[in-house]
Amino acid sequence: MHDPRSAAAAAAVMLPFEGPRGPRPRKALSTRNIFIYGTLLLFAFYYLLPLYVMIVTSLKGMPEIRMGNIFSPPVEITFEPWVKAWSEVCTGLNCDGLSRGFWNSVRITVPSVILSIAIASVNGYALANWRFKGADAFFTILIFGAFIPYQVMLYPLVIILREMGLYGTLWGLVLVHSIFGMPILTLLFRNYFTSLPEELFKAARVDGAGFWGIYLKIMLPMSLPIFVVAIILQVTGIWNDFLFGVVYTKPDVYPMTVQLNNIVNSVQGVKEYNVNMAATLLTGLVPLFVYFVSGKLFVRGIAAGAVKG
């Protein structure tokens, strides 16, 4: 027996063939699973309940609501509250419903998102790749800006906008949103561009590409995930903003959130709960839609900075 292979084979024959083999079986209903899924279901229920109440209420007529069964499904489904919330409900002197606020919000959000991301991505690129003099100081100041409470800046900004002639206009609010998006977006882009291999940047420089050439032809095509993240952050952030909207605009150009508040909090007349619920749901639809469509891309983009492809 000097062939080691036959010796090993002979030894293996002595061992039993029955008994455990392959992957270990797992019980579907183990204590661990029950605990995990139970907890998850409980919290899912807790968070979904208010949404359920809102949807159900918005589909009921006022007489049915007055009966007080807020959890029961509507006996007679009506879309009238939705129509009223969108196009008839009055805020102040305007009685054309939430649609005005919706289009105002669109006109505020789109330019703000484009402007802030365009500037912040170039900022981040310059900070990550072109180490100019004072870059660190500039970056520190910018990040510090993210920690200053908004309240401190509210009034000075009112004066600045007034002097610029932008107070109470859509473009004034666009400017404010772009400024306040800058610290966090610059940080986001800087970190992403820093995670890209530096040699790529060096190779492009040897190949004779300049500041804008490298940004547009090399960096931009590689940064789709982080742009998606930035767009989601900005769209939801600006759409949901209430404070800046109420401070820097006038009733004609109020964003949707401010208008919603004015509808829900109006003290005159009967409280139309169904219309309020419908109006709230309408206002929340855009962020909800953005999350549903881009949730996967969002997670991928957040993770992209951490792992090199």
Binding site: L200, K202, A203, R205, V206, K217, G309
Partner: protein, 362 residues
């Protein structure tokens, strides 16, 4: 005529001195290898030559022109990086032509150069592919191609083979050598792999701590290292070092370490034998003879084998000389067993002696 001249170049990052007043002249068509452990400043020096880092002091000339303040693209260099640095969103063709398009060359000239480079590197079938769809070896070929199309005098390689597996590394090493023989342009090549350095270089600059320790032909560095660091860094397996004392007199110097006394009368001292001073005696494992051959050597000793490391073609046997570890490279057929006592011998002419304090060659 010199192709690349580095004159008094220093580089500081804050208070850290990375390069300390370096001077190198590279001849036209020469293959110079910058060799050293990581952190010795070799890549930094290459980046300075490429213009990717600004020097703190000194000048850089390429083809007789002072390029110290020039942009990388205007220096007449092509560069190949360790991580290939291919533009992921462009095809191989796009990668090769990117620099030429930036230089606004006419379309037919770009096509001609891309065609020539892809012929030389045999990457024609890959031109339409994206870098993601290439293997490591193919990627590095494309990266070399990107330097090739620039039609420049000077090629800079920054550890181009370090990301490849051992087999591919050997293949591409030969190919780089072939490329150099065919193109006959100047190449500066950074590596920490001494085999790459020995095989490719016309001259090697061994660096440590931002200073060039020795700049010489590979054989000269191998045979006559200027200090203990260079001696230990070049050669595999590494050189044996025995610490001891130079004594004797009347032109009959001996090296004494523990119970061993080695006659070093034939050793070529730089400035005569420093009698009575501490020294380190270095001899390469492959310069030690065993058995019959050992007896005819000027120095021979008895040695007991303690450890045997078979490496395929050769076997490395470990013993003790003067109480210190000592390895011998033996053909595998003649390999001794652990516990054997064998006769070993070597010629002090091929050995190196270093001062124990300064580590410099004596």
């Amino acid at each position: 005529m010199s192709s690349v001249v580095v004159r008094d170049v220093s580089l500081n990052f804050g208070t850290v001195e990375v390069l300390k007043s370096l001077n190198i002249e590279v001849d036209k068509g020469e293959f110079l290898v910058l060799l050293g452990p990581s952190g010795c400043g070799k890549s930094t020096l290459l980046n300075c030559i490429a213009g990717l880092l600004d020097v703190s002091d000194g000048q850089i000339f390429i083809n007789g022109k002072n390029v110290t303040w020039e942009q990388p693209k205007d220096r007449g260099i092509g560069m190949v990086f360790q991580s290939y640095a291919l533009y992921p969103q462009m095809s191989v063709e796009g990668n090769l032509s990117f620099g030429l398009k930036n230089a606004r060359l006419p379309k037919d000239e770009i096509d001609r150069r891309v065609k020539r480079a892809s012929e030389i590197l045999q990457i024609e079938p890959l031109l339409k592919r994206k870098p993601m769809a290439l293997s490591g070896g193919q990627r590095q070929r494309v990266a070399i191609g990107r330097a090739l199309v620039r039609d420049v005098e000077v090629f800079l390689f920054d550890e181009p083979l370090s990301n490849l597996d051992a087999k591919l590394r050997n293949e591409l090493r030969v190919e780089i050598k072939r490329l150099h023989q065919r193109l006959e342009n100047t190449m500066i090549y950074v590596t920490h792999d001494q085999i790459e350095a020995m095989t490719l270089a016309d001259r090697i600059a061994v660096m440590r701590g931002g200073i060039i320790q020795q700049l010489d032909a590979p054989q000269a560095i191998y045979n006559k290292p200027v200090n203990r660091f260079v001696a230990g860094f070049i050669g595999s397996p590494g050189m044996n070092f025995i610490e001891g004392l130079v004594d004797g007199g009347d032109g009959k110097p001996r090296f004494r370490a523990g119970d061993a006394a080695i006659d070093i009368g034939r050793y070529g001292f730089e400035n005569g034998a420093p009698y009575g001073s501490k020294a380190v005696f270095g001899v390469r494992p492959e310069h030690v003879a065993v058995g019959e051959a050992a007896v005819s050597m000027p120095v021979n000793l008895d040695a007991a084998i303690e450890i045997v490391e078979p490496m395929g073609s050769d076997t490395l046997a470990w013993t003790k000389v003067g109480g210190q570890n000592f390895s011998i490279r033996i053909e595998s057929e003649k390999a001794p067993a652990v516990g054997d006592r064998i006769r070993i011998g070597f010629d002090p002419v091929r050995a190196s002696l270093f001062d124990a304090g300064s580590d410099a060659r004596i």
